[in-house]
Symmetry: C2
Subunit: 228 residues, 2 copies
Amino acid sequence: MRAPAARRSYRQYCAIAYGLDFIGERWALLIVRELLLGPKRFKDLFEALPGIASNLLTQRLRDLELAGVVERAVLPPPAGIAVYKLTSLGEELEPVVRAISRWGSHFVTREPRKDESIPPNAYMFALRSTFRPEEAAGLARTFEVQLGERVFGVHIEEGRCTTWEGLPDNPDISITTDVRTFSGLLWHRLKPRQSLARGKLVISGDPADLDLFVRVFTHRLSAGPGQT
Amino acid sequence: MRAPAARRSYRQYCAIAYGLDFIGERWALLIVRELLLGPKRFKDLFEALPGIASNLLTQRLRDLELAGVVERAVLPPPAGIAVYKLTSLGEELEPVVRAISRWGSHFVTREPRKDESIPPNAYMFALRSTFRPEEAAGLARTFEVQLGERVFGVHIEEGRCTTWEGLPDNPDISITTDVRTFSGLLWHRLKPRQSLARGKLVISGDPADLDLFVRVFTHRLSAGPGQT
DNA sequence: CGGCATCCATTTTGATACTG
DNA sequence: CAGTATCAAAATGGATGCCG
């Protein structure tokens, strides 16, 4: 951690302005969104953020590193690769990203446009916000979600929900589909049993667990201006 | 409300990216911060945001208006002046601003620098986050806070807190001070009775209500990564 | 004045090419 | 793969001008 990005600070003695000095620059919070699902390599970040220039990604990662939000780490052998991960200060940005996600969901009112990318991580992260503890009361489940090439883990237990990118241990059910279908399920555009029947979605496990997943994670439409 | 600022969108089908398309541009959330305390004229906004160019403020207000976050209004006579105010969609940004404020408070660890402005609205807004309902249980109070030229109202009742810029009705106590002292009180750098004794702060009302104010609104240091 | 619009120097960004 | 280097386009900031 160090003084605000001297490059271009708002120069206001105010927690909001200070925060924005660090994570208000273009792309910064989308990088954080990606890292909230776990450590990522440069390449993964680059591909998850179509439109960013590689030099700009480099610069943002440097800025965030200097800010104490991100750090470089080397995964234990045999992986042994260098990755970027959030520090604990960076993890504390989760409420910020969730609040923006909740507000931004007002604008998710139509099908994706052709020129838009559909970032899987965004959906897996959104699950943390749309999770309804009351629907999952007393239940413990681990889900494996395969979206295209990528695998995610979702675990719910005791009214809590964690999500991450990577293989889960002993999932109760594995759900394989494409991001469009997955997004459709979460936004009420598609129904799980229909998608199953149409082959847009494949599961290994109990279909009732798929229904549970959708029930627990589907978006509340026209949600009020509450917290989170 | 309309499609994301076509000018420069992230083009991701994702609530976070959509949100940032609207309020991720430089200055946008600081404008929202100002308006969260009530309608403001162009001039008030311009003066509250030192460093912004007037044309850029114009453009941001246009963008926010097109986004459905801000609208122009004319105050009822005799004022009859044109102001900018938040729409209900704009009001819903309060959790976003609060989350950033909470995170950014990690960096408020020193005295203000000479080149920093100290925006009164930021502190009055912060009260909404630092408010501790448990300390105010069963109490109802209205405070008038005079910071330099500006007057603010703070009302607490039934575990709720509202703040605004402007004269409150029948305040229980009026607190007059400068922004530095006020900030010092909220951040534990100063004690209310000492500031009173030193003449940095003047009240009309019961000094016990000043103590109450500080107890109810003072910042929790090293707060965990909780919600809000 | 208040509320912008215009002009212009400086930064930032985006796109592409290149390197260890 | 993980970045640098380069360069054109766009955004920003500062000053100044206009107009009721």
